[in-house]
């Protein structure tokens, strides 16, 4: 029998339907792969008993012809999603041994459709990071290495565990979240497909909050089709999240293979940065040519406020984070460090429970919201955000269907290589992705090639609000042209 972990979700779905193997066999193959790949540190909690139980239930449903769209498909869940009776930590010491008495809406929809939970995946603490190095469970290792090198590379972040697990075939797909690039950047670093849907497309209920006006859940998978399959189950209106949008969820998979002929693809001149590596530039123009060959029309567009997106993000996101993270006070859940009085108890708990990056962002967020600084920082940043969104609106108003950009300014880097002296060095990773969150738009990262050292590189497509389907169609064109990339197994 072929290695079941190497199948795509679409292939596994067929195999299960034709009884070539059972959900239990598929799950067992993945549990064995996880056990053999602990060196990657992708999972922070394995749930084999739950997985086998769910696989058994899926087999029974499939036998009765009642299997849902994801029946028996084993998935990994980012540890930012609350899972009922299963420890959920956001990879922060401050959540300690938190066992949610409830299930996030997105994961509950995956289980509704028959998916199987393999375990919880590592991420940057509270999703704050671009390398998965800020997790209280330690960094995740990228299954990809430079040619002829043993250097351990980061998988990107914050959904580093999700990207690494999908790339190493430790699950068929994974949930992830994206506040400034946390789905797309790790997808690009690991040759996986990651989509951040339009703000409001997926419910945020039951997902540990980082920056509420930017956070969105989305899938990471090995193919564009698999991402589309997962997306359909994850999306949808939820009365428990007032920012979730009440519009029908399309059959995203139907967009795979659809013609892109006549579509106008914007190439934004502001994304051509000074000192951009030649191989990124080359990949970008190659991607544009593939879309052109498929019948799309390339047009140069301008998004003049692009360079201000990252600085505005580093006001808006920390400000919202400082408010959201106020709830971690040692009273209702998680860690508590004693103090002489209640204030000291708060201060000691939060000093001990938050890691350096989280502390830094809570402090800067507190500062920009403090009396006398609100107008100069937060209000100004929100006005700049309006301008960033308007740039995109102007572009779409000219008939542009989607915008093509590089996903990241470089390939994966080594653990400990970036941000040691200046946190801004790490933040620059999100320079191409963060604009999308600021404007609430959908964005997909698809693998498109390799750099000279053999590391994967990705391209990003940015779409109109709630037009994820066009991104899937275009993503498929790139996937067909570029081919798929699998990391050589060394672990």
């Amino acid at each position: 029998m072929t290695d079941l972990t190497s199948l795509t979700i679409a292939e596994a779905r067929e195999g299960l339907a034709s009884k070539s193997f059972t959900a239990r066999e598929l799950t067992d193959a993945h549990l064995a792969a996880i056990e053999a790949a602990r060196v990657l540190n992708a999972y922070v909690l394995e749930t084999p008993d739950r997985a086998r139980e769910m696989a058994k239930a899926a087999d029974e449903k499939i036998a009765k012809g009642e299997g849902g769209p994801l029946a028996g498909i084993p998935l990994g869940i980012k540890d930012l999603f609350a899972t009922r009776d299963i420890r959920t930590t956001a990879c922060s010491k401050i959540l300690g041994n938190f066992i949610p008495p409830y299930e996030s809406t997105v994961t509950s929809q995956l289980w509704r459709d028959g998916a199987v939970l393999l375990g919880k995946l590592n991420n940057d603490e509270f999703a704050m990071g671009s390398s998965n190095e800020t997790s209280c469970f330690g960094p995740v290792t990228n299954p990809w290495r430079r040619e002829a090198s043993n250097t351990t590379l980061v998988p990107g972040g914050s959904s580093g565990g999700s990207a690494s697990a999908v790339a190493a075939s430790l699950c068929m797909g994974a949930t992830a979240t994206d506040t400034g690039g946390s789905i797309r950047q790790p997808a690009a670093f690991t040759a996986t497909v990651g989509i951040k849907p339009t703000y409001g497309r997926c419910s945020r209920w039951g997902i540990v909050a980082f920056a509420s006006s930017l956070d969105q859940a989305g899938p990471i998978a090995r193919t564009t089709r698999d991402a589309a399959i997962l997306m359909r189950s994850m999306a949808g209106h939820d009365p428990k999240d007032t920012t979730s949008v009440d519009i029908a969820v399309p059959d995203y998979e139907a967009a795979i293979g659809k013609s892109v002929k006549g579509m106008k693809i914007g190439i934004p001149r502001e994304y051509r940065l000074d000192g951009m590596p030649a191989e990124i530039e080359k990949l970008w123009s190659e991607g544009a040519q593939w879309l052109k060959a498929a019948g799309a029309e390339l047009v140069e567009v301008s998004l003049p406020h692009t360079k201000y997106a990252l600085p505005a993000y580093y006001i808006v996101a920390p400000a919202e984070a400082s408010s959201n993270l106020a709830r971690y006070d040692g009273v209702r859940y998680g860690l508590r460090e004693p103090g002489k009085n209640v204030i000291e108890m708060y201060e000691n708990t939060r000093a001990d429970g938050f890691g350096d990056e989280v502390r830094r962002r809570v402090l800067i967020g507190t500062y920009v919201l403090s009396a006398g600084y609100y107008d100069a920082y937060y209000l100004r940043a929100q006005k700049v955000r309006t301008l960033i969104k308007k740039d995109f609106e102007d572009c779409f108003a000219k008939g542009v269907s989607a915008i093509l950009t590089p996903a990241t300014p470089s390939a994966a880097f080594g653990i400990g290589e970036k941000g040691g002296a200046d946190p801004v060095e790490m933040y620059l990773n999100d320079i191409f992705t963060v604009t999308v969150n600021m404007a609430g738009l959908p964005g997909i990262a698809v693998p498109a090639g390799k750099d000279t050292q053999g590391l994967p590189l990705g391209l990003q497509l940015i779409g109109r609000p709630f037009d994820e389907e066009t991104l899937f169609s275009l993503g498929e064109v790139i996937e067909q042209a570029a081919g798929r990339f699998a990391a050589p197994k060394w672990w």
């Binding site: 008495p101 006006s213 209702r332 100004r380």
Partner: protein
């Protein structure tokens, strides 16, 4: 704009995070690096621009004003560090 050591201590207290004297210079450097980075926003002309309040134009749905959940005190206190009789316990706050 940049922050001095006194401001770092004041922000840390506002954020309810204990910071030791030894950590202040380092934090001050990091915060100032971030503030220097965001400084470039001052060159953007924002005259007459409305601040963004909702990234997706939509009217917020309102739910019916009815009790739809409750009687789950056990589930609510289950994860608390210290409780008694379904109450959260904190150090004494009233002298």
């Amino acid at each position: 704009m940049s922050v001095d050591a006194t401001t770092v201590r004041r922000i840390a207290h506002l954020a309810r995070i204990a910071v030791s004297d030894a950590e202040v210079p380092h934090l001050q450097g990091e915060l100032n690096a971030m503030l220097a980075f965001v400084e470039q926003l001052s060159e953007v002309n924002i005259d007459g621009v409305e601040p963004m309040t909702s990234v997706t134009p939509m009217e917020m749905k309102k739910r019916a004003d009815v009790v739809n959940d409750g009687e789950i005190a056990d589930a609510i206190v289950r994860n608390a560090p210290d409780t008694v009789n379904d109450f959260f316990l904190v150090p004494k706050v009233v002298e």
